[in-house]
């Protein structure tokens, strides 16, 4: 079970298809996820949740549940009101932040709102007793649609703010009025990005263990942000941070929904402290759908101004964000990322955006793969296609015309960003070539003659990755790494990033192995335990490799300086080089190995001048900027006239994520990202009825793509190194998702353009397409 590729001098590991080092435990079923944790005396919690989207709690009767043999405690909002609140980490001017108790106090705000918790010696007993808790609700009117919520006369989600407006946010750049005054063409379109349910295959789960002797709490949680969680949990529970430990075992997918601090994490801490025993709570899939954050939830009103030659002059946006009933960690910040991303890859500099954050009686929205950027990219890429159609221009041509040119970097955008580097036409040209664009257009013309509905859709997307410079990222945007060379010469890397499927145990080992010149088997990468790893920020926003990677790189550089000092001492030389794991005296040619160097540094019989013993370096790296990956996706579709069903005939993805450390892993990220983008484009939708009941409440009604629903993705790359970090990496976690949905929708709209279709909102369900065809193109 050794990887096929190992490092040789001629062949660095960076850029190679190195098999993943995390896989052996995963393919043999020996990895440990939260639900796999067993502890002596462990108790189990079952949470009672509101069936109503809005209701007053008149009373809770827990006596029958408490009397059940095996039940050790039942807690309600009254018991836990001193804990919390569930934190919102984002700040905006004038932001209204409702107090978010970990258990509802006297009122519930969304269906699934936690109301009480039953704790028992086993989970079967806990579940049985949960049925005995009686909650007396007085149902109140609810509102589930963000536009209805901010309309006159809507029921108030929070009585203290009857307009349901959590915030208004305005941003502009350039002179948008001037741009629209000069425009020869102005086009408007309402574009929605529906509510999505992130659906990692592992739901959330928490095990909390209170050590009464130490007065310390250990929380095992399926999270993307162990250190931030520790800081915030300690605050919520009133514990000293250094006596709070968060351990992130194997995490079965996150996609943003585990970039959060949840009521249940604090609740389990609270329970463990109360009962003095370890307690476990594993979220059911239904709870996951009802209570873990959702993504997207946008209603966007776009206006684009252009010249008749296709030059884009400016863009206006009114964005209504469905926030749900509360702010989770980053809820209100997500739509502001959309505004940042509005210009896409295009040169225009006149922009105005207004966001209305609307409270609804639904579970909060927050970061889901792409977090704000897919919505914006979908908007601009749809508007560009709408403009191209209006002007009778080819969608590829209009894009080329408006791209920022390679010599314009660094490029300051109207939204205040500085794009790092790019050759935006390269992936597009590559995609057109791979797909055989001209030939496809000819096929399309023939198909039309034959009465078939074939479409070709493009999206050329940009992304903001590597979150991010600290001033732009709540709680800090740096990342950390520690490298230890053990006395035997083996290498331990500790990253503050917290990967959960991204493969950093492999990519970071590649970086360390290359820099230290050791075999990859001699490197191990640790993460996700606050008692083991130095403080870190976590894995989200395509930042793992793009911020955590450079931190590791710089830690390795520091260590190499020290290695050379000890090498010089051992070789009794004033001029040594360190390469391929060996220190060489440049005069004598004598060498010593890394193990010898590290052994000497640890035994410390003798030390180089001004050098402490040991062989360890820690680096906290603050990125000077975001990185800006980009790419082009091309999708060929055919629409079945009779049923409205869409078939993806070709999917070409050309992505530029900067320098590639492991092409196998990068492709995997693209595939998975595309699957989630395709899910949004065609299938997925969180459906609430008008009373706030989630109708797509299980996997039986919420369609994430299955193997039979995915096309073969023809994936290719261009590599434009980022100047922002020494590795030249940009990040790739969200690219596929961001590039996908507009390409698919553009393709289907293109297929139906002969009927006069100009726009369609996602998901493109067969019935929606069929209805449009029936009406001769009138959406």
């Amino acid at each position: 079970m050794t990887p096929t590729i190992t490092r040789t001098k001629a062949e660095p590991l960076i850029g190679k298809r190195v098999k993943r080092r995390e896989d052996p435990r995963l393919i043999t079923g020996t990895a440990t996820y939260v639900d796999d944790i067993q502890m002596p005396g462990m108790h189990h919690a079952c949470i009672i949740r509101s069936p109503h989207a809005a209701a007053r709690i008149r009373g809770i009767n827990v006596s029958a549940a408490k009397e059940t043999p095996g039940v050790v405690a039942v807690f309600t909002g009254e018991d836990a009101k001193g804990v919390g609140p569930v934190p919102c980490g984002a700040s905006l001017p004038g932001l209204r932040v409702p107090h978010h108790y970990i258990l509802a106090l006297d009122r519930v705000y969304f269906a699934g709102h936690p109301v009480a918790v039953v704790v028992a010696t086993d989970k079967y007993i806990a579940r049985d007793a949960a049925d005995l808790v009686e909650v007396d609700y007085e149902e109140l009117p609810a509102v589930a649609d963000p536009e209805k919520a901010i309309a006159e006369g809507a029921p108030a989600v929070h009585p203290e703010w009857p307009d349901n407006v959590a915030f208004n946010f305005h941003q502009e750049g350039g002179d948008v009025n001037q741009a629209f005054a000069e425009a020869e063409v102005v086009l408007k379109q309402r574009i929605t990005s529906q509510r999505l349910i992130p659906t990692p295959m592992e739901t959330r789960g928490v095990v909390a263990e209170w050590k009464s002797g130490d007065k310390s709490l250990t929380v095992y949680s399926s999270t993307q942000i162990p250190h931030l969680l520790r800081t915030l949990l300690a605050g919520m529970l009133g514990l000293p941070e250094h006596k709070t430990r968060v351990v992130t075992p194997e995490v079965g997918g996150g996609f943003g929904c585990k970039l959060n601090v949840y009521a249940e994490e604090a609740l389990m801490g609270f329970v463990a402290m109360k009962i003095g025993k370890p307690v476990k709570w594993i979220e059911s899939r239904r709870e996951n759908y009802l209570c873990t954050i959702h993504g997207r939830g946008h209603v966007d009103y776009f206006e684009i101004a252009a010249k008749r030659d296709g030059t884009i002059l400016g863009l206006k946006l009114k964005l209504i964000q469905d926030l749900g009933a509360y702010h989770q960690l980053l809820t209100p910040a997500i739509p502001t990322l959309s505004v940042l991303m509005m210009p896409g890859l295009y040169r225009f500099r006149n922009i105005s955006a207004d966001i209305v954050g609307a409270f609804t009686n639904c579970v909060p929205t927050d970061a889901y793969r792409g977090a704000g950027r897919p919505e914006a990219t979908h908007g601009i890429e749809r508007m560009v296609d709408i403009l191209a159609a209006e002007l009778n221009m080819d969608p590829a041509e209009i894009r080329m015309k408006n791209f920022i040119k390679p010599d314009e970097f660094p490029f300051a955008t109207a939204t205040g960003l500085t794009y790092d580097s790019g050759e935006y036409d390269k992936p597009l040209r590559h995609a057109l070539e791979v797909a055989g664009y001209q030939k496809l257009r000819a096929e399309q013309a023939q198909a039309r003659t034959d009465g078939r509905l074939m479409g070709i859709g493009l999206s050329t997307y940009g992304e903001i990755c590597a979150f991010g410079p600290s001033p732009a990222t709540p709680a800090g945007g740096w990342e950390s790494a520690t490298v230890k060379i053990e006395p035997s010469g083996k290498v331990t890397v500790m990253t503050g990033a917290s990967p959960h499927g991204q493969g950093e145990e492999t990519t970071f080992a590649q970086i360390a192995a290359d820099e230290l010149g050791v075999d990859i088997d001699d490197v191990v990468v640790l993460h996700g335990d606050t008692a083991v790893v130095q403080y870190g920020i976590g894995t989200f926003g395509s930042r793992g490799t793009a911020v955590g990677g450079p931190a590791l790189y710089y830690a390795l550089q520091e260590l190499k300086v020290k290695i050379k000092k000890f090498g010089a001492m051992l070789l009794d030389s004033d001029d040594v080089s360190f390469e391929d794991g060996v220190c060489t005296c440049n005069h004598s040619g004598r060498t010593c190995t890394l193990a010898e160097v590290s052994g000497a540094a640890h035994r410390a019989m003798k030390l180089p001048p001004d050098t402490p013993p040991g062989m360890q370096a820690t680096y906290f790296w603050e990125p000077p900027n975001f990185t800006f990956p980009f790419g082009a996706h091309l999708v060929v579709t055919e629409v079945d006239r009779d049923t409205g069903q869409i078939q993806i005939k070709r999917y070409v993805a050309v992505d530029d994520c900067g320098r590639i450390i492991n092409p196998m892993i990068v492709d995997g990220q693209v595939h998975g990202g595309v699957a989630q983008g395709l899910g949004q484009a065609l299938y997925e939708q969180a459906v609430y009825d008008e009373n706030g009941q989630l109708l797509s409440g299980e996997l039986t009604d919420y369609a994430i793509p299955k193997a039979t629903m995915m096309p073969w993705i023809e994936s290719a790359h261009t590599e434009t190194p980022s100047p922002v970090n020494p590795l030249g990496v940009k990040g790739v976690g969200e690219a596929g998702t961001i590039g996908c949905s507009p390409a698919v929708v553009n393709s289907v709209v293109d297929a139906l353009s002969g009927l006069g279709v100009r726009h369609l909102d996602m998901p493109l369900t067969p019935e929606k397409i069929w209805a449009v065809i029936q009406k001769g193109g009138q959406a």
Binding site: T30, Q38, E250, H671, T708
Partner: protein, 156 residues
């Protein structure tokens, strides 16, 4: 009322007293300590809990342990023999057919079932064969490639 059951799991027979309502997945994970099969839904859709029962891939979240009395169960833990990975496991590693790994044990068991029944599936057959297993990370592309490559290796 508890019942005694006797089940041969990964080649070893064991006897336990279980409540009739104990799900096979809970029995495997909590009584037998085999935490390879996972729980991803409660509606028999995600396939993360897939194990082999009497030679057939089944969703162990939709079966009570008492129903397995007298039967044979193979879990992901029982797939490798004497430290040698099963060709499907090997191919999943080789082709990067997993990311977070949560669906992987079930996915591998479903892929194994497919190849047991159809040693040379084409891509649509592979996709059809694993449609009862959801993966949210890979877009299935490398899983399809892995099953293809395992098929080639197994028939070689």
């Amino acid at each position: 009322m508890k019942r005694q059951i006797s089940v041969t799991i990964n080649g070893r027979t064991r006897t336990d007293e279980v409540e009739p309502r104990l799900l096979l997945i809970h029995y495997l994970r909590e009584v037998c300590g085999l935490t390879g099969p996972h729980i991803g839904c409660e509606t028999s859709l995600c396939g993360a809990c897939t194990v082999e029962f009497n030679g057939q891939a089944i969703k162990s979240c939709t079966m009570f342990a008492v129903q397995a009395d007298g039967g044979r169960v193979t879990t992901i833990e029982g797939l490798a023999s004497n430290g040698t990975l099963h060709p499907v496991q090997e191919a999943f590693w080789e082709e990067h057919a997993l990311q977070c790994g949560f669906c992987t044990p079930g996915m591998i068991m479903a892929a194994k079932q497919l190849l047991d029944r159809n040693p040379a599936p084409d891509d649509p057959e592979i996709r059809h064969g694993i449609e009862g297993n959801l993966c949210r990370c890979t877009g299935y592309q490398n899983i399809v490639a892995a099953v293809r490559s395992a098929a080639a290796k197994m028939s070689a």
